[in-house]
Symmetry: C2
Subunit: 474 residues, 2 copies
Amino acid sequence: MNADDFARHGHQLVDWIAEYLGHSERYPVLPRVAPGDVRKALPAAAPEQGESFDEIFRDFERVLLPALTHWNHPGFFAYFASTGSAPAVLAEFLAAALNQQAMLWRTSPAATELEEVALGWLRDLAGLPSAFEGVIYDTASMSTLHALAAAREAAVPGVRQYGLAGRRGTGAVRVYCSEQAHTSVDKAVILLGLGHESLRRIAVDEEFRMRDSVLREAIEDDLANGIKPVAVVATIGTTSTTSVDPIARIADICTAHDVWLHVDAAYAGVTALLPERRPAFAGWERADSIVMNPHKWLFVPVDLSAFYCRRMDVVRAAFALVPDFLATPEESRGVRNLMDTGIQLGRRFRALKLWMVLRHFGAAGIRQTLAEHMRLAQLFASWVAAHPDFEVVAPVPFSVVCFRAAPSTVPVGELDALNERLLEAVNTTGEVFLSHTRLRGVFVLRLAIGHMRTGESHVARAWALVTAALGQPT
Amino acid sequence: MNADDFARHGHQLVDWIAEYLGHSERYPVLPRVAPGDVRKALPAAAPEQGESFDEIFRDFERVLLPALTHWNHPGFFAYFASTGSAPAVLAEFLAAALNQQAMLWRTSPAATELEEVALGWLRDLAGLPSAFEGVIYDTASMSTLHALAAAREAAVPGVRQYGLAGRRGTGAVRVYCSEQAHTSVDKAVILLGLGHESLRRIAVDEEFRMRDSVLREAIEDDLANGIKPVAVVATIGTTSTTSVDPIARIADICTAHDVWLHVDAAYAGVTALLPERRPAFAGWERADSIVMNPHKWLFVPVDLSAFYCRRMDVVRAAFALVPDFLATPEESRGVRNLMDTGIQLGRRFRALKLWMVLRHFGAAGIRQTLAEHMRLAQLFASWVAAHPDFEVVAPVPFSVVCFRAAPSTVPVGELDALNERLLEAVNTTGEVFLSHTRLRGVFVLRLAIGHMRTGESHVARAWALVTAALGQPT
């Protein structure tokens, strides 16, 4: 494809994307395809001779487009939403063309230093002290993995060299998080070789927040039994209900026992940009590490997870390893080589989209959108609360509402099935996509607001669909 | 940014990128910036009010563009090259706009199934049996990490639940690779908690290939000492010299001792598309897992690493973990949920660019480019070999030439310094970027051909610059 062809196809694609982003409601948010439909519609083998981009794009429209889940749809209320905002999409286009691989400062001074700049901006906007050094990973799973790897490095002398089972056997260790913490903590603990049983899930209170008194007892209990506490993962904005663990009190416990504190603020961290929201974050500045995900609620497409650490030297101690073929003269000049702070050697130019988003929307614009999403969540919750056949099941600290239908005419034992039917009914309309969770054993609907283009009309429509579905014969 | 503004900026960007990709030689391949230049040229804080895309792009051109290392430059001969080919750049643009997050089949049927299709095509083109199931990770580091995590899962009963140091302590374990294997193996072993000392690097022969007899002895020695062999990582195309370990004989050893065989073909794997190159791969079809990186030599921009595994059930046993909030009805219908095969929950739509590249260039087009790069490497090596003051330091099985200046007039003890000066001299021209390695203790220059736009003229220019630099007064 020469430059002229690239330009021609590129211009067509720009028009297609502009149209798509402007009218994503025209597609059902959840596609109407069955497992295997895409696979069966495509040839079993790659072509021997090359094909034109036009042909390929026709197959994209014919086969793939009807099988997309439209994360761009303003009725996407499932999980946590993600916005590929216009400036960030352009940034990704540019980043793909530049094809930077920022393993070393030398292999991309721009990507290496822009990562530092953009993460510094975000840190300062969130009110975190400059003692937090930042690095970008792809996902929160990886940020939390690196946090716990660093915690292991700090807590288990010689683990890098001798491992956990070697001649300097370390004995049992423990990581703590709440019952509501994300499964990325489980996966990290397993991958690190600590064993799933080393994760102790701490009970939560009636508002789904970690009970710090139970945490304290658990740590003391473990210490008394010769089990070494390695880390506590506290969450600001848990996945099911967005509950907020009592960070300051947990930080006190971690300080007292010299345990690494990692704060998972992957979803809600960006709300620290709003000064009136800072009380929920009190104490997070005392964490050893923090994750927040711009690809969740800061209008950059996946993937971009921001990891902040007060002890990046420990991360480097856990991960840095420079073979001959990657040694560069700049090391003596104090450059940061991003490969030293992670398991991944290859690193694409993710900082570009974050930098462009922060500049294009500005701090004020970002605050306004986040505040609006949180207002809409309160509004939706108020409708639920006012309806005799529905109930709000958890507090709404951010932009997620957990609720369910609970008509007095339906036996309690049948409520789960009723709500499952409701979820299925609203999702099959193609107008909205809600997800669910289980809280205290019951099936709960979950409306998560976070797409930049979601407005009051979309939230109102979701509510209309939910209430209408309840009225439907089953 | 509304649809019209997006279209306007998008069209400008298409023209800019077309111009850039068509004329990447106009930029110095290594930028002429000092550490800190980018950071100092940008404001210390994010703007309060949003800025126009034009303003942001002006800063991109003013500050970032001069600080890029041009991986697109046809004179990029360092490390392993990477091409962001035109169709793949368009695919990434589209993927960013679609913003799929393919953790579950439900969250992107298209991305989930296209990954299976595109990886199936690549597997078949490479001549691997269909018993290999594929999954895309971001980097080879992650592919190898998952391979070794699966190997640990298979070798250490209960490791997922009890860990390596828990109440079912596992004793010492071992992973093997050659002295020339990539440091991603070290990093994986460390992260997995096996300890760096559990990695035993096996001596290589005069052509930098693992000595299988030494491997066999090492495994027998370890077994005799109660150390459990977990995995062997064999490499097809090592990083320094692209040497090829004797895969078939290593596979025999692994079979005999029931040890997981992981083949690192991150760079050279794609050459299996050329039937005449298949002899180098003999035996890799018996591996438990294989990694090859389309973002190295298959014309997709970073990141995309293809991981193939005969025992994906073991990968799933190591990683699958489904919380309530991610349970979907499709699981009962046998869908693959990509989150079950990895540590990362979030997964962007990487398959799109691979699919578009395979279709746009076709198998024949890809073979032609790979063959041409290998022809150019032989040509360059022939020039080196014919020059009285230079020597080829290692065989050239693929597209990398390791060489150095060794004029008879220069004392052996000064050759390293001479070659370091040569490297610095050619790289400061901005016309080419070569890297280096150390082989048998000596400093060696390394010319790696792999960019789609690199032709004979660029290789000839590199040679002219190298020989001219030797003639320069120092």
